[in-house]
Symmetry: C2
Subunit: 336 residues, 2 copies
DNA sequence: AGTTGGTGGTGACACGTTTCAATAGGTGAC
DNA sequence: GTCACCTATTGAAACGTGTCACCACCAACT
C-alpha cells in the first residue's frame, strides 16, 4: 500500500540521476526534451507525488499561509477567506484557516502552530491590541499582515475605516430624525468595536448633540445570540430614555436583535430602527432587510495577500504599508 | 533575524547530545529531571521552535487533516468545520479547510495538494458521485471519510439521512393541507439534493398522492442568489398549477426565495409556504422564521474525526463504518 | 571481586527534496 | 588534432528531526 515513491525511484525507472528528475520538476527547460519525456513517463507510471515536507525542509519555509480570524461563524470572515484563498491559489500557496474565536489562548495556539509550520506568511485579525506572539513571528522572519485592523507604521495592515463607518451609520440615524440612539457591541477591547463606537460619538458631536444621547449597550460577543439577548436590555430602559434607534457593531448582533424584536411583536423600524455593520449576504435577506455599513470583504483579502507577497519577495526593500478602504452605507427597510 | 535554531544548537547550549533534546521533547520521562530542566532552559533562552516539516519528513506523514467542503459561504459547512476543528485540536492536529465550491477541478486541486502534504487524513463532501482522486489518496494510505454523504461498504462515512429529511419536510407540508408542492434545488448531480428529492417523492407516495403533484425547480447552485431568482420561475407557473408550498434543498435557497417573496410583497406562508434544510442559525432569524430540517452539524464533524482517528490508529483491523444521523423537523412561521 | 540489571545519555543514520559545483559529451574554430 | 565552449547530466551535501542500537555508570546481589 504505502510503499513510498521518491525521486530516486523515478530516477531509477527513467535511467537518469535524481538531480535530473528534480530539474524536470523545477526547471524543465534545462532538461533535453527526450529525457524530460522519459522522466515524466516514469513519474506517471510510478504514481510519484512530491513530498511537500521535504521541499519545505529544504526551502526553510512552507508554502502555506495562515489566516487567523475572530469568528468563523461570521460570514464576513468567510467572505474574506474566500478572497484570500483565491489570491493565494494564484501564487500556488495554500491557506490554513484558523479560528481564534475571540480567545487569546486559542489565538496563541494557532500562531505557535503556524510558527512550527514555518508559515510562508500570516494574515490575522488579532483579538487584543497587543499580541506578543505576532512580534515573535515577525522576528523569526515570517511576514505578518493585520487584516480588518489598522496599525502603526511598524507593520502592514489592510482595514476599512471603522470610524467613518460608525459616523455614516449614526449620521444616517440622526438624519432620519432619531434623537436617542443606542450602540450595541462588545467587548470594547476589540478594536473594531471601539472604533465604530468612536465614529458614532463623533457623528453626534458633528451634529451638535450631547454624547449622552448615546446609550452604550455592551455585549459579551459579536454573535447572533448576544444580539438576541439585547432586546430585553433595551426594553428595560424607561420609555423616556429608551433609544429609538440602535447601531449594532456587526450584522450578527443586528440580526439577533431584529429576531428578538420580531418575536416580541415589536416593529422595526417604527419601534426601533436598526443599523448593522458588514452588510453580509444575510443582512439583505432578513425579516426586515437591514440597513448596514458595507465593507469590501473579498477585496480586503486580496489586498492583504498583495501586501504579504510584496514583503516575501523583497524583505529588505519592503516598507510597511497601511491600506485603508472606505465603507459604504447601504440603506434598507430597517431604518426606513 | 532568521538565524534558525535547531535541536543541535539547543543541545550545544545545554551541554547534551541532540538525542537527549529530542527525548526531552518527545519522551520527557526518559530524561533525568536535572537534565530536562537544563534543556528546557536552553530551549527557552534560544527561542527554539520545532520544525514541523522535519518532523513530518521523518514521520512520513503530516499532522494536518484536510477538510474539503462544497461551499464555505454556507454556515452549515462552517459549523461542521468548527466541530471538526474542536475534535482535531484535542488530538493535536491542525485542519486545513478547503473550499471546492462545487467545482470538480478545484476539488482535484485541493486533493492533490493534500496528497503532497501527506495529510494525516481527509474529510470530504465530494462534488460528484465518483471521485477518482479519493481512490488514489486512499491507495496511498491516507484515510478518507465522506462527510454529509452516505457511502457503500468501501469507505467510512458520516451522514444525515437525507431521504428521511425530505420525507419529514414534505409530509409536514401535506399535513398542513398543501396539495401542490414544489421542490427547489440543484444541481441534482449533488447526492444530497437527489436524496432529499427522493424523500419528497416518497412522502407523496406514502400519502397516496401522484408524483405529478411535485413540481421540480432545478437551480444552478445551492446559494442565496439562486434562491432569489427562483421566485420569478414559481410565479410564472399558471395559478392553477402553481405550488402553494415549496421544499428547498437547503436554507440558503429558502432564504433567497423568502427574500424575493417579501420584496414582491407576497406573504409567506399564505401565498407560499417554505421549508428549508439544515436549520442554520440564520433560518430562525429570517424575515419569516423558517421551518427547516435540522442536521446535527458539529456532531457530524466530531463523528467524522472519530472514524478518521480509528482508521489511523489501526489501519489493519479497521472496518469501514457508515454513521447515519437522523434529521429533525423544526417548525416555524414559514409554514404556519 | 565479579555479575546482573537498570537508568541516563550518545551519535549515527534515515526521511525526500533542492542546489550547486563538477563532469561528460558534443560542436565548431583554428 | 587540439582547444575552447556550451549544454545536459551527475552526485554529494544539506535541511532538522526522530529512532535505535549501543555505551557508561552505578547499585545491588552472589
Amino acid at each position: 500500500m504505502s510503499e513510498t515513491v521518491s525521486v530516486i525511484d523515478v530516477a531509477g525507472r527513467a535511467g537518469v540521476s535524481l538531480g535530473t528528475v528534480s530539474n524536470v520538476l523545477n526547471r524543465p527547460e534545462r532538461v533535453a526534451p527526450a529525457t524530460r519525456a522519459r522522466v515524466l513517463r516514469a513519474i506517471e507510471e510510478l504514481g510519484f507525488v512530491r513530498n511537500e515536507a521535504a521541499r519545505q525542509l529544504r526551502a526553510g519555509r512552507s508554502r502555506t499561509i495562515g489566516l487567523v480570524v475572530l469568528d468563523i461563524g461570521n460570514p464576513f470572515f468567510t467572505d474574506l477567506a474566500a478572497g484570500v484563498e483565491a489570491s493565494a491559489q494564484r501564487s500556488g500557496l495554500s491557506v490554513v484557516l484558523c479560528n481564534s474565536n475571540d480567545d487569546t489562548s486559542r489565538e496563541r495556539h494557532h500562531l505557535s502552530m503556524l510558527q512550527e509550520q514555518r508559515a510562508y506568511g500570516v494574515l490575522i485579525t488579532p483579538v487584543a491590541n497587543k499580541t506578543p506572539a505576532i512580534e515573535i513571528l515577525r522576528r523569526a522572519g515570517t511576514p505578518v499582515v493585520l487584516v480588518d485592523r489598522g496599525s502603526n507604521r511598524q507593520q502592514c495592515s489592510v482595514a476599512v475605516h471603522d470610524r467613518v463607518g460608525g459616523e455614516l451609520a449614526v449620521t444616517h440615524l440622526l438624519e432620519r430624525g432619531h434623537r436617542r440612539i443606542g450602540f450595541v457591541g462588545g467587548p470594547v477591547s476589540i478594536k473594531q468595536v471601539s472604533e465604530r463606537l468612536a465614529g458614532a460619538r463623533s457623528a453626534l458631536r458633528a451634529a451638535g448633540r450631547a454624547e449622552s444621547a448615546l446609550t452604550v449597550i455592551e455585549t459579551p460577543r459579536l454573535d447572533v445570540a448576544s444580539g438576541r439577548s439585547t432586546g430585553e436590555r433595551i426594553l428595560a430602559i424607561g420609555k423616556r430614555l429608551r433609544p429609538t434607534a440602535v447601531f449594532c457593531a456587526n450584522d450578527l448582533l443586528a440580526l439577533g436583535l431584529l429576531q428578538d424584536m420580531t418575536r416580541r411583536r415589536l416593529s422595526v423600524p417604527s419601534d426601533l430602527a436598526i443599523v448593522g455593520y458588514d452588510d453580509i449576504e444575510f443582512a439583505g435577506a432578513a425579516a426586515v432587510p437591514l440597513t448596514s455599513v458595507r465593507q469590501p470583504r473579498s477585496q480586503l483579502g486580496h489586498a492583504a495577500m498583495e501586501l504579504l507577497l510584496e514583503e516575501v519577495v523583497d524583505p529588505e526593500q519592503h516598507r510597511h504599508r497601511q491600506v485603508v478602504f472606505e465603507p459604504e452605507l447601504i440603506v434598507r427597510d430597517s431604518t426606513a
